[in-house]
């Protein structure tokens, strides 16, 4: 993989910020977009913008073909059995909320349990808090080890015969922890529960096979994987999607509408009420082509090497605290002694380096770490060891700067 060449494909990356070449280390928040995706969006809006699944004119047919073609690309990308199992949504948050409203609230009753972990993003906590409150189900947490991982023994202990839903992130957006989804799914299924996976931080970075993982629902966002904002995916096993109720009613998702009752379209369209995210889905399809051309295994390998390099270099900084396990996804969350994460972020920004600082939409996890906020550098296919070197030297400088002014 030639990173230098690859970087040329991302126009945003070729600019100066505050007088320095941009070093973008915030891809866990959102990734940059390559030229083919930008061109595809432009082509749609300029060339064949029209609504899908209605009307019989030429442009409408082309838009529908492209939109449904993107669905097939997603199906292949995650190895779903059929396109019936691939629903386009606004993103991971929407996907999880759809499951919590359309499935969980109909299935759960008092005495049932929902099991999650303390490392979840707010979007995989709050929908379950709300579902628990609405149904009288109990929300339970699998405890974390001191390095921010979970053990299968604890998973076995926490999931009981009363557990109906296990919801878990594939990769933690703060700790980088990679959870053993396949094994957890097996335990959940043994106890008669289903598993919902937040794949927002895994899908962009590694090969996903929903059949191999044997997860019941799998969710992810397009914008973190070189696609446009505003589009994401809800994967669900066909049987479960059949049992699940739509949460948005209106045009496009209906079969027959009578005065006092209506019936829904078949899967997956019963979940896509209103004009769908046409350009977004088509753009996501192109992002998938782009990633597959490079190869997901290549991308994973590149990020693994980069993360190992980053961990090694960052550890040489005096007074740095790194959170999370050794084996991790492509991100490093840290704090510098005596310098608040926001001050770190502002100092790095002055050097053209973009990182994330704050609670990362994971307040319960911040409390577990006993810090109000942290700084996070996250990597993607377009990052190089040079980017890490720039980060490390800027962090050294930041330490000196704040050391001096104190």
């Amino acid at each position: 993989m030639d990173v230098k060449e690859l970087k040329q494909m991302f126009p945003v990356l070729n600019q100066e910020v505050n007088g320095h070449p941009l070093v973008y280390l915030d891809s866990a928040a959102t990734s940059q977009k390559p030229i083919p995706v930008l061109e595809k969006l432009d082509e749609y809006y300029r060339g064949y913008n029209s609504n899908v699944h209605r009307g019989v004119h030429t442009l409408g047919t082309r838009a529908t073909d492209e939109y449904e073609g993107a669905r097939e690309k997603v199906r292949r990308f995650i190895n779903a059995r059929s396109t019936k199992e691939v629903v386009f949504t606004r993103g991971t948050t929407t996907s999880i909320n759809m499951i919590a409203y359309g499935y969980a609230r109909h299935q759960l009753k008092e005495g049932d349990e929902i099991v999650i972990t303390p490392m979840e993003h707010h979007s995989n906590i709050i929908p379950w808090q709300q579902a628990a409150k609405a149904t009288g189900a109990e929300l339970k947490y699998i405890p974390l080890q001191s390095d921010g991982t979970i053990t299968l023994e604890d998973v076995e202990q926490t999931i009981t015969d009363n557990t109906k839903i296990v919801a878990m992130t594939h990769v933690s957006n703060v700790l980088g922890t990679i959870n053993p989804i396949k094994q957890v799914a097996e335990i959940a299924h043994k106890k008669g529960a289903i598993i919902v996976v937040d794949g927002a931080q895994s899908t962009p970075h590694m090969k996903i096979d929903v059949q191999d993982l044997d997860c019941d629902f799998f969710t992810f966002s397009g914008h973190k994987m070189c696609g446009p904002t505003g589009v994401g995916v809800l994967y669900g096993k066909e049987k479960l999607l059949e049992e699940m109720e739509p949460v948005e009613f209106g045009g496009e998702m209906i079969d027959f509408v009578e005065m006092y009752d209506s019936t829904w379209k078949e899967l997956p369209w019963k979940f896509e009420g209103g004009t769908p995210i046409i350009a977004g889905a088509i753009g996501l399809g192109t992002a998938i082509d782009f990633l597959e051309d490079i190869g997901m295994d290549e991308i994973e390998k590149h990020e693994k090497e980069l993360t190992r390099y980053a961990m090694e270099k960052l550890k040489t900084i005096d007074g740095i605290q790194i959170y999370g396990p050794e084996k991790r996804g492509g991100l490093v969350t840290f704090n510098l002694d005596d310098v608040h994460a926001h001050d770190v972020s502002t100092a790095l920004d002055a050097e053209g380096i973009a990182i994330r600082a704050g609670h990362h939409c994971a307040q319960p996890l911040m409390r577990w770490l006993k810090v109000p906020s942290t700084a996070r550098a996250s990597f993607y296919l377009y990052n190089s060891e040079e980017d890490i070197d720039t980060l490390v030297s800027a962090l050294q400088k930041t330490k000196e700067f704040f050391g001096d002014v104190f």
């Binding site: 608040h340 001050d343 502002t346």
Partner: protein, 148 residues
């Protein structure tokens, strides 16, 4: 490579307030209390004010946050002590305008250390850090007026 630009933000006096905050702690006895946080970044302030005869008799704060938010809280409590409620609110307005880069007229108002935060206007992402303590003060004062 230079951090020149950064020095317009992190002035010596700001770092001094951050490291040695004035009026950090809690007030005994009757006081009004405001808790405020900045949900996007997690900065928190717990502010206590003692208002007597329309004047800020005392002010103390506890909190957690970056150097800008905590130094601003320290400076704010220092600045409003002894001022009338009206003056405190006026100062808050001037401060808010200043950090947003608007022209401000202090009109003989004693600005003191607060001026050091003027550099925040060059760092738009940090304006909310600087104004958190002031917003808390405004909320506390207005709730106090409603009760009276």
């Amino acid at each position: 490579m230079s951090f020149d630009n950064l020095e317009t933000l992190y002035r010596q006096v700001i770092m001094d307030h951050y490291k040695n905050p004035r009026n950090r702690g809690t007030l005994d006895g009757d006081s009004l209390t405001v808790d405020m946080n900045n949900p996007t970044c997690g900065d928190q302030i717990h502010l206590q004010l003692k208002i007597e005869d329309g004047k800020v008799a005392d002010a103390k704060f506890e909190g957690e946050g970056c150097s800008i938010s905590m130094s601003s809280a320290s400076m704010m409590t220092q600045a409003i002590k002894g001022k009338t409620v009206e003056e405190a609110l006026e100062l808050s307005k001037i401060f808010s305008d200043m950090v947003q880069g608007k022209e401000v007229e202090a009109d003989g108002m004693e600005m003191g250390d607060i001026m050091a935060l003027q550099g925040v206007s060059k760092f738009p992402a940090r304006i909310k850090c600087a104004t958190l303590a002031w917003k808390a003060m405004e909320k506390g004062v207005s709730e106090n007026e409603k009760e009276e």
